[in-house]
């Protein structure tokens, strides 16, 4: 499963599956629980889905970048540099999740959304970013770099 193009396709399938979880199942839960001052619930869900789709696409592209980078012959010769790249991408995705959450807080500032709902939104953003990246690279990194992923033995 760590060979091209299977890893690319399965990564895309996982991204879609995560979108179903967050964009439909979790969104359904949020629409039942979130309290909005003025905004229509459909508008709230629209912005929520825009956010998870945007971060999902960024994560997918960065994961693909890791697959391309890990497949290069030069990468096998400098695994320490490769480890640094993996962690850099991981941190970038954490930042992406935080920035996306911050953008939502700004957009919904007047709506008085509860902290617990923001935590749920952050969980969804996390699933699409650094968790997705870790999971995909854990399962499908190219042979040369697959043991660089944390928790992989």
């Amino acid at each position: 499963m760590n060979k091209s193009p299977m890893n690319y396709l399965i990564t895309f399938a996982i991204a879609c599956f995560f979108w179903v979880i967050t964009g439909l199942v979790l969104a359904g839960h949020l629409s039942d629980t979130v309290s909005l001052a003025t905004l229509a619930i459909e508008d709230f869900l629209f912005w929520y889905r825009i956010a998870i789709t945007a971060v999902g696409v960024i994560s997918l592209l960065l994961t693909y970048y890791w697959y391309v980078y890990g497949s290069k012959d030069s990468t096998a010769g400098d695994l320490e540099q490769a480890r640094r790249v993996w962690y850099q991408l991981f941190v970038i995705l954490i930042i992406v999740a935080i920035v996306a959450l911050f953008a939502k807080v700004i957009i919904f500032l007047d709506e008085g959304i509860a902290i617990i709902d923001y935590l749920i939104i952050f969980a969804a953003l996390s699933l699409h970013t650094y968790i997705f990246y870790w999971l995909c690279t854990f399962l499908m990194s190219p042979r040369a770099v697959k043991y660089l992923v944390p928790l992989k033995k």
């Binding site: 499963m1 399965i10 359904g28 629409s31 629980t33 309290s35 001052a37 619930i41 399962l139």
Partner: protein, 445 residues
């Protein structure tokens, strides 16, 4: 390692299937509720201009009216002339009938009508003795416009009888009633001024309009024809817009309604409208559908309603503090196949507060919905109170006196204020004009 990878994917696949199965297995939805959406109870439906008119002109030919006719150049005489001309030229075709009335009603021809500026017109035996307006009201017909020219001097007993007659004959049958007050020069005797008050002589002094005495045109018939007649008449300086009163089902020319959940109402969320609902509102040029979700475990909510309106100045103003809320309800529960087309009166929604600033009403509405999850839709009216919901216009108060005599209020009309007030009450007893109409749909989760 290959085997391990396969195990990982099996677990992942199982999780995926479980989530999708859970999502697709969500509970049954309650059917959507619809209404026969319209704004017609609040704003009069638009209609084209009428080409033809059937009109009956009734002249009060009792003795007290002769004082208006004495001066051949009086406003009264000019008005009668203008009335006949307006009816003749205001429509493509006009069918005019003329009557004089008093003790009885007598049909007259145009030539006789044109002698209404002569004193003897008001001295015909068998007619001049008593003003029986109720007989005229009995002859009103929704297919004809009836214009009754009179000084409206009525005792309290007469008023009750006339109001009752107008209620039965006009309001109940959808015939609109309008009253135009006009002040004219007067030189004659004023009779029927109430028990114990002797008739008195009255003469207007020259150009001093304060000494003019009012007469009235009571108009019965189709609303559009009444409007058209008045619009044609008002080119004359003595026909004043502010002295015209229409007792209509419609008090507003335009209305704009907004309903938002109050910020403190955490149990409610606003919902978007469907494309069909948006198309309906665009067609009506009117926002009147409002949709909300009620979150699980909540039974209450509150809204702020803002109603911006343009009042028809010819109709009586409404009393804001007595405005009533009337609510009809439909409901549907999950698993139910159809929604009944019938609605029931409901007290789920209450009017907590209301205040008015010029052309704007601000109302606080409360909701109590202690029912199981499902769809609940409400048709909400804000309407005038059935008792004293409408205000007597100021010009009527200015023209009226409870006891006119030679020394006091000699130029005013006996009991006009009571007459109009009773008419307004009778009108409200038949139909309470609507100020706003909203459809509020709640999806209780």
């Amino acid at each position: 390692m290959k085997k391990k990878n396969l195990t990982d994917f099996k677990v992942l696949g199982l999780v995926a299937v479980t989530f999708i199965f859970m999502y697709s297995g969500c509970g049954k939805k309650a059917p959507e509720i619809t209404w026969n959406y319209s704004i017609r109870e609040v704003i009069r439906p638009e209609r084209g201009r009428s080409d033809s008119i059937h009109i009956d002109l009734y002249i009060d030919a009792t003795k007290s009216m002769s004082g208006f006719a004495k001066n051949t150049q009086s406003i009264y005489n000019k008005f009668l002339e203008e009335l006949e001309t307006t009816v003749g030229v205001g429509w493509k075709s006009a069918d005019i009938r003329f009557f004089k009335f008093g003790t009885k009603i007598k049909e007259i021809d145009r030539q006789v009508f044109r002698t209404s500026n002569a004193e003897y017109f008001y001295l015909e035996p068998g007619i001049f003795e008593k003003t029986n307006i109720d007989q005229v009201i009995n002859q009103t017909d929704s297919s004809r416009l009836s214009v009754v020219i009179t000084d409206l001097f009525q005792t309290e007993g007469d008023i009750n009888s006339i109001v009752q007659q107008i209620k039965e004959r006009c309001f109940k049958r959808g015939i609109q009633v309008a009253i135009l007050g006009i002040k004219s020069e007067f030189d004659g005797w004023v009779y029927d001024v109430g028990p114990g008050v002797v008739p008195y002589k009255l003469k207007s002094t020259g150009e001093n309009a304060d000494t003019y005495r009012p007469f009235y045109a009571l108009i019965f018939g189709d609303p559009l024809n009444i409007e058209q007649l008045f619009n044609n008449l008002k080119s004359q300086p003595f026909v004043k817009e502010e002295n015209f009163l229409v007792l209509s089902r419609y008090l507003l020319n335009k209305v704009d309604m907004r309903l938002t959940k109050s910020r403190e109402s955490r149990g409610l969320n606003t919902r978007s409208k469907s494309k069909q609902e948006q198309a309906f509102e665009i067609k009506l040029r009117q926002e009147m559908l409002f949709k909300f979700d009620m979150k699980k475990g909540n039974n209450e909510g509150a809204w702020d309603a803002e109603i911006t309106f343009e009042r028809n100045a010819r109709t009586p103003d409404f009393r804001t503090e007595d405005i009533e809320l009337v609510v009809y309800k439909k409901s549907s529960l999950p698993g139910q196949k159809d929604v009944s087309s019938d609605s029931i009166l409901s007290d789920d929604i209450t009017l907590n507060s209301i205040n008015r600033e010029d052309g704007r009403l601000k109302a606080g509405l409360g909701l109590k919905l202690a029912e199981p999850p499902g769809n609940y839709s409400y048709l909400v009216y804000l309407q005038c109170a059935s008792i004293d919901g409408l205000l007597v216009p100021q010009w009527v108060k200015d023209f009226s006196s409870p006891n006119p005599s030679a020394k006091n209020d000699s130029y005013k009309t006996l009991n006009l204020g009571k007459f109009i007030n009773d008419l307004l009450r009778a009108n409200l007893a038949i139909y309470q004009p609507k100020i706003a109409k909203m459809y509020i749909t709640i999806r209780k989760l």
